[in-house]
Amino acid sequence: MEHDIVNVAQTKQPTIFAQFMNLVKNNELSHAYLFTGEDGAGQFSVAMGVAMRLFCTNVQNGVPCGKCSECVRIMNYDHPDVVITKPDGQSIKVDQIRHVKSEFTKSAMEGSKKVFIISEAEKMTTGAANSLLKFIEEPTGNVVSFLISKNRNLVLPTIISRTQVVEFPSLSKKLMVAELQSSGVKPSEVNLMISITNSLDQIKAWSKDDWFASTQKLLEKWFTYLVKGNAMAMPFIQMSLMPLITNKDRQRIVISMMLSLFDDVLETKYGTLSSDRVKYPGILAETKQAAVEWNNDQILAMLDELLDMNGSMAVNVNFQNIIEALTLKILAIGQS
């Protein structure tokens, strides 16, 4: 996996990557960039690719070779002049930034340039982010920094104004579908998975065990109860769904899956759901029925409840409580 960074960057973001290769060639690289975009849109790979391009001793067609000792060292996070910072736990701490800053002030060990990559920059504490400001604004010497963040709104505005912001478009759906299908993911799951994440690695991890598939099945059953207004939906959570949801990650995934399910309903209601985008192909009949039976306001009210779940999660409400409450509310809305 480590050896195809350039490849990944090229397939995921061909234009942006080519752009940067060009910048390096013309020596027009600025000193600070902020890469924004959803997870898995290739920000890290592009940043690494640029670093490799800067150090590679054997550039081919304007692209780093990925084989020379410099490239290999960068890919193994071993290069002294390429400083990579990732959050330590929940946030990037001031201590970590101190280390980065002390690196900033030192001149390069081997060559004449240094590269800094800070991924998940939105997780910097306020103190950490503020202390970076001056270094990002006018670094001494030949320095390039890449900040990577999922959401540009979470990054300090004073940082944004000091960087060039590059927005990474999400991967095109077709590309992902094709890749997933070729790697053996069941077609009935592909759309749902894509709607939840953009990261191919994550999807591949999911498809290794049958957790995802069985959760999808259970949710379909749950929804069938809901459409019929059957109160069985409530005990069903305790009996079948909860045993599968074993950790916080999975809780989030289940919430996303539920959202996608009702998204299907909304789109069916307005006829914008083309057949190749259906996320739950197993229960087409039920979603159609739901779209007919529930009126616009009901569906919106349900979606509001679903969207509220993230808030409850954030304040550590018990997960089972959250989805049971949700189920009851949806049943009530459906009958009103």
Binding site: Q19, L23, N27, E28, L29, S30, H31, A32, T36, G37, A41, R98, K101, K113, G127, N130, S131, L132, L133, K134, E138, N142, N151, R152, N153, L154, P157, T158, S161, R162, T163, Q164, V165, V166, E167, F168, P169, S170, S172, K173, R252, S256, L259, D263, L266, E267, Y270, G271, T272, N296, D297, I299, L300, L303, D304, L306, L307, N310, G311, A314
Partner: protein
């Protein structure tokens, strides 16, 4: 030398070059010319408005011996040294990373020594809002009376985090956001100097996206330049700013106005599929709505703000959409933009938003929806609907007047002892075994009765019961309040004999009134009625007081008559179609509450 970002290359070196802050630069220059410089300055303002630049220029100017009109020469040794950052006496400190008391102590100690090369020792403390409280306080004394020839310049984007004691010791300058027009001119100047081709529209877009920060503008410009091989095109500017094209926005709003949910949803999907940032889209949408709103008031403002980018579709749209709709849309957008910050599902939010704003009219005013959408009803002409309503109303007035006349004659035959006309008394008396029901007390209470009061009494009723003695409680056990006003409460009894018992029991009444006084803080008059007669009394009251209520109606309609041609009055007039708005019904609803009211049309 590696490539330097535009904002570093073009950092202003003279006060004149600072854009859009003429008041501040003139003040500083005058102070320099008259040698009235202070020892401490605080520069505040949004990012990229020139705070740090002004501080650096000021540091040069106080030390430059060849000052010309308050501008540093940028030629002499000191100026050059400061530009290079090699002068020991101009000390730039990043408060964000030196935010402890220790660092400030260090400054304090070193400030004592006289400057080595230049005339003044200048401390520029940037991002000063990050100093800890201890550090701020450690600085106070030094800041108030620093040694001779020391100047402090504090710069920050967040002045509210600075203690008042610091602010009062400094001269404070508020840097304003730079106007798009000024940013535009500066960018044009830079590009002309660099001999880069540019598209006018692209620069306008960048100037707008920069939100008043020059550094933002130059960063974006830099990026757009590197995207397009030293040419700035509109497409590149769009790409770099991540803005949704105006065309897409216009289409989307058009679809929203036309209530075309399906196509609007498809547009949203298209926008998201292109990898546009959802919150950016919401921002763009909000500012578009804002523009429409402003354009409706004064086209001139928008033309100036938008730097003249206004197309025909925009003009058409702003004529089509009512301001009420815009308010509602903006409200929804606000709600969404808050939620969007913390979600991983922007797509669902946007879809929900779309459905909501395409269904806006349905919820608040179901009746108007048919006529209001998609084109708002013209405001001055009389629609057929209004004329028929007026006809109905005049008929009603005539009818009411005749009824009023008959009613006026009625009371003369059946006078009652008490204030209100009350032909009902005999009829009530007829079937209440000779229980004297205190109608005289009941009617005034009913006249002012509100549901709210009743609910209040119902709430305290159990408490009140507990406060009574056992025998009293036994009597009151089957009673409940049925109507109440601020001054009195009517209590109905399930069994007539208990009612009689209670009626004769003055102790009980006293106890009730005393306890009520204790619980709710007032002693309302308490009136008892037997429950089997309550509906009759109520009905009687309503029919007897109809004339009063109807007077109110006729007043309304008469008032409306002279200016029927203005449609503004429409909502005031009661309409036949809606029974809930008739005054009699309204009054009834007021007394008994809408939840128990069943309106029958007969």
């Amino acid at each position: 030398m590696s490539y330097q970002a535009l904002y570093r290359v073009w950092r202003p070196q003279r006060f004149d070059e600072i854009v859009g802050q003429s008041i501040i630069t003139r003040t500083l220059k005058n102070a320099l010319i008259t040698k009235q410089t202070s020892h401490a300055y605080l520069f505040t303002g949004p990012r990229g408005t020139g705070k740090t630049s002004a501080a650096k220029i000021f540091a040069k100017a106080v030390n430059c011996h060849y000052l010309k009109d308050g501008e540093p020469c940028n030629q002499c040794e000191t100026c050059k040294a400061i530009n290079e950052g090699s002068l020991n006496d101009v000390i730039e400190i990043d408060a964000a990373s030196n935010n402890g008391v220790e660092e400030i102590r260090d400054i304090r100690d070193k400030a004592k020594y006289a400057p080595t090369q230049a005339d003044y020792k200048v401390y520029i403390i940037d991002e000063v809002h990050m100093l800890s409280t201890g550090a701020f306080n450690a600085l106070l004394k030094t800041l108030e009376e620093p040694p001779a020839n020391v100047i402090f310049i504090l710069a920050t984007t967040e002045p509210h985090k600075i203690p008042a004691t610091i602010i009062s010791r400094t001269q404070k300058f508020d840097f304003k956001r730079i106007k798009p027009q000024d940013i535009l001119e500066r960018m044009e100047y830079i590009l002309d100097q660099k001999k880069v081709e540019y598209d006018d529209k692209a620069l306008k877009l960048i100037a707008k996206a920069a939100e008043g920060g020059m550094r933002d503008a130059l960063s974006i410009l830099d990026q757009a330049m590197s995207y397009g091989d030293n040419k700035i095109t509109y497409e590149n500017a769009l790409l770099v700013t991540g803005s949704v094209t105006n065309e897409l926005l216009t289409t989307y709003i058009e679809q929203v106005v036309n209530k075309d949910t399906k196509s609007a949803l498809i547009t949203i999907q298209k926008i998201l599929d292109e990898g546009k940032d959802a919150s950016r889209f919401i921002e763009d949408l909000t500012s578009y709505c804002q523009d429409i709103l402003l354009y409706q008031q004064d086209p001139g403002i928008v033309e100036e703000m938008e730097l003249g980018i206004i197309d025909d579709k925009f003009k058409k749209l702003s004529g089509q959409i009512s301001d009420q709709e815009i308010y509602q849309i903006i409200n929804e957008l606000n709600d969404i933009s808050n939620s969007l910050r913390y979600t991983a599902h922007p797509d669902v939010y946007l879809e929900v938003l779309t459905v909501k704003i395409t269904h806006l009219d349905d919820a608040p005013k179901p009746k108007a929806a048919g006529t209001a959408a998609p084109q708002p009803a013209p405001q001055t002409t009389v629609t057929p609907q209004v004329t028929t309503e007026i006809q109905q109303l005049t008929q009603e007035v005539a009818k009411l007047k005749s009824e009023l006349d008959t009613l006026k004659q009625a009371p003369t035959t059946e006078t009652t002892t008490i204030s209100t006309p009350e032909p009902a008394k005999p009829s009530v008396d007829a079937h209440t075994m000779d229980n004297h029901i205190e109608l005289a007390k009941i009617y005034p209470i009913l006249g002012k009765a509100t549901r709210k009061q009743l609910n209040q009494f119902k709430e305290v009723w159990p408490d009140l019961m507990k406060a009574l003695s056992v025998t009293q409680r036994a009597v009151m056990h089957v009673s409940s309040p049925v109507a109440a006003s601020a001054g009195g409460v009517i209590v109905a009894f399930e069994y007539p004999f208990l009612y009689q018992k209670a009626q004769g029991d003055t102790d009980l009444k006293d106890a009730l009134e005393n306890n009520l006084d204790r619980i709710v803080g007032k002693a309302p008059q308490i009136v008892f009625v037997p429950e089997n007669q309550w509906p009759d009394i109520r009905k009687e009251y309503l029919t007897n007081h109809k004339d009063k209520l109807k007077k109110a109606v006729s007043k309304n309609t008469e008032n409306a008559d002279p200016k029927v041609d203005s449609a503004d009055d429409e909502p005031d007039n009661p309409t036949e179609g809606d029974p809930e708005s008739q005054p009699v019904v309204k009054k009834a609803a007021e007394i008994f509450g809408t939840d128990i009211l069943d309106i029958k049309d007969d």
